[in-house]
Symmetry: C2
Subunit: 387 residues, 2 copies
């Protein structure tokens, strides 16, 4: 086990009807609020009205900035920063999923910063100050509601890059599983793949003596594997939606990653796919992760065998660890497929003419990952396994 420092200060407010109290939570932290959201879905579902009413009842001033798109854009972040400065905004309330939260984090970091906020995403600067953020979550997926991370896409050059800072952890996150009832099946499935990928990036490690976190990571995986098909069959099943939502937040809050070297190559590879082709992040991960597994499993057969037995209930065969490993990978792929996700680049709608360019771009700052260091040719091999 590696030494670590862990602190997750986000206050989680979980359960039915919790969004109706958002105004009182915000009031403890700010006066002039930016209400940040995505497309029109929160207006259709009535969530927008609930939030606005709660903010008004709490006597708060607020302005709005909607229009966050999946794979949130830098241009809207710039717009948000200007808007906050002009209106003396002291708190940002993100109502939506990972894209809205990540966009809010970028704005929060950008407002007090004299330079270009993109500096934080190119790692030319470190966040030293940020506006506080709160969240009303509408999709179980990104885990951004209690994580220090934000991923933003710069349209020019199709650059999708991330920034990490504990200053960007939301102060509170309101998690009502009922708010996910209206999600389309494909988005529910993409969310599940995103959660599972956050777990898998932490699970595949060579760090020894990580039994406790292994088992908690397995807990998160088994929970999502069990409850996603239930939620797809019965979208208003509160129990299933609640299990997935809480697992999704915990999966990326990093408690489950403490004391272990993590990988994150698959996420970096996927960022090229969604940066170039604007595919859903979860769908991209469902394609990349099984291919990554097929390429790297020999680096640690015991770990992949454990994964197959403990997560997928494959019967242990101590004479054939490789067979076990491959069966675990097969079931992973089969599961993604069964919940309606693509598992090949073709199914994802990605042609092969930019694969070289993407492999080049995602490795230009050095090799990816830790489980196996991946160079450009490795990424190309993974793309081939994903065809």
């Amino acid at each position: 086990m590696e030494n670590f420092v862990f602190q997750n200060t986000t206050k989680i407010i979980f359960g039915k009807g919790t969004e109706n109290n958002v105004g009182n939570e915000v009031k403890k932290l700010g006066k002039n609020i930016l209400l940040h959201y995505g497309g029109g879905s929160i207006k259709e579902t009535g969530l927008y009205n609930k939030v606005v009413n709660s903010l008004k009842e709490a006597g708060l001033n607020f302005i709005e900035l909607g229009g966050v798109q999946p794979n949130p854009r830098l241009s809207l972040v710039y717009e948000g920063i200007e808007l906050c400065r002009e209106n003396d905004i002291d708190f940002i309330l993100a109502v939506g999923g990972g894209s809205v939260i990540d966009s809010a984090k970028a704005i929060a970091a950008g407002v007090p910063y004299q330079g270009d906020v993109w500096d934080f995403y190119t790692h030319r600067a470190v966040v030293e100050e940020a506006l506080p953020i709160g969240v009303v979550l509408t999709i179980a997926a990104a885990g951004s509601e209690s994580s220090p991370g934000s991923v933003i896409t710069k349209e020019e050059g199709n650059l999708k890059r991330d920034c990490l800072s504990d200053l960007l952890r939301p102060k509170f996150a309101i998690l009502n599983p009922e708010l996910t009832y209206t999600l389309p099946a494909y988005q529910t499935a993409c969310g599940a793949a995103d959660i599972m990928a956050h777990v898998l990036e932490r699970y595949f490690t060579h760090t020894e003596d990580v039994d406790f976190t292994d088992r908690m990571l397995e807990a998160a995986l088994k929970t999502v594997i069990k409850h996603t098909p239930i939620a797809l069959d019965d979208p208003e099943n509160y129990g299933a939606r609640a299990q997935i939502m809480w697992a999704g937040t915990v999966a990326h809050g990093d408690l489950l990653g403490t004391g272990r070297v993590q990988d994150w190559a698959s996420h970096n590879i996927e960022h090229e796919l969604s940066g170039f082709y604007d595919v859903a992040h979860g769908a991209g991960l469902a394609v990349v992760f099984p291919a990554w597994m097929k390429y790297v499993y020999k680096e640690n057969l015991a770990r992949f065998a454990q994964y197959a037995v403990r997560v997928w209930d494959v019967e242990a065969d101590f004479f054939d660890l490789e067979g076990l490993a491959l069966e675990g990978i097969r079931r992973t792929e089969e599961f993604f497929s069964s919940i309606g996700l693509p598992v090949t680049l073709e199914e994802l709608g990605i042609p092969d003419d930019k694969l070289e360019l993407m492999a080049e771009m995602c490795t230009e700052r050095g090799p990816l990952g830790n489980f196996k260091k991946l160079y450009k040719e490795d990424v190309m091999n993974i793309f081939k396994l994903a065809m």
Copy 2:
């Protein structure tokens, strides 16, 4: 799943050598420090010198109050409160285990309070202000290093009572598994039982749709069950000590108890035993918990069957849930016995002449627990099963 609010702000600093940096951590939070500890063991192991040197290097003023006993006493808390007031103490550093931390919490709550600090433990008053606390942990057991709880014994009347307040969560906890190498085997085993009991109090619930937390609780149990015998055989096994220590902190930080009705009857019963007879808390729990299980398992056979299968790897027998339940309980008791703990009141050295009185006292404020509401006669029945 129940609605919940969860926030655990304690900063965890985990790993080898981390205690050497305690001065710098304290310096961020206070200037005049009370260094609070127990008996002489931290002086024998050299930890005392390391901490004192680190405080001095950070340029901090500090005074000392040692002498905390297991089942920490109210009289020393009063002494600590006076000392803090006389010396303008603004931060308390607890170096030790649960007793030292709980004593520090009581002092921290008492200093700014005009009334009697015992009011917080009789629930006549609520903590509204407290000095900040930091911890250097020396035993994996109580989980007090990131919990909001404190348990103090008032010598007059043998009253062992608890107080809960988020204001009492330590600001930081330094967890170096190496510091537990020198623990006697019996204390290591008592610590394991304490951790397991914190998990079991949360595990046995009738709340439905708690799959994720069930599995995380099972993760903590399996970790402690696997690694405690290793640590007993090989006290300087870093991996085993680290797994137990991290599981112990997480087990009681309450993430694993989110969204579920918890029980806590066994803890309340045990508090009478250690309040009257000053036995080690973990040893008392090893006696009370199996007896409690034998008394209540019929309230939810499915849950006890799941416990047997998932935690103790008993082969599932769907035609005999009661047999499964009883086998899980038998293995729990057998495990405690195998690590050198008492599992009967007699082995714990407790005579039967005060059982009535203890059963009376622990139920005088109302019935105990939630899995099954326990009245005086129920507690007596549990004592009989523990004979």
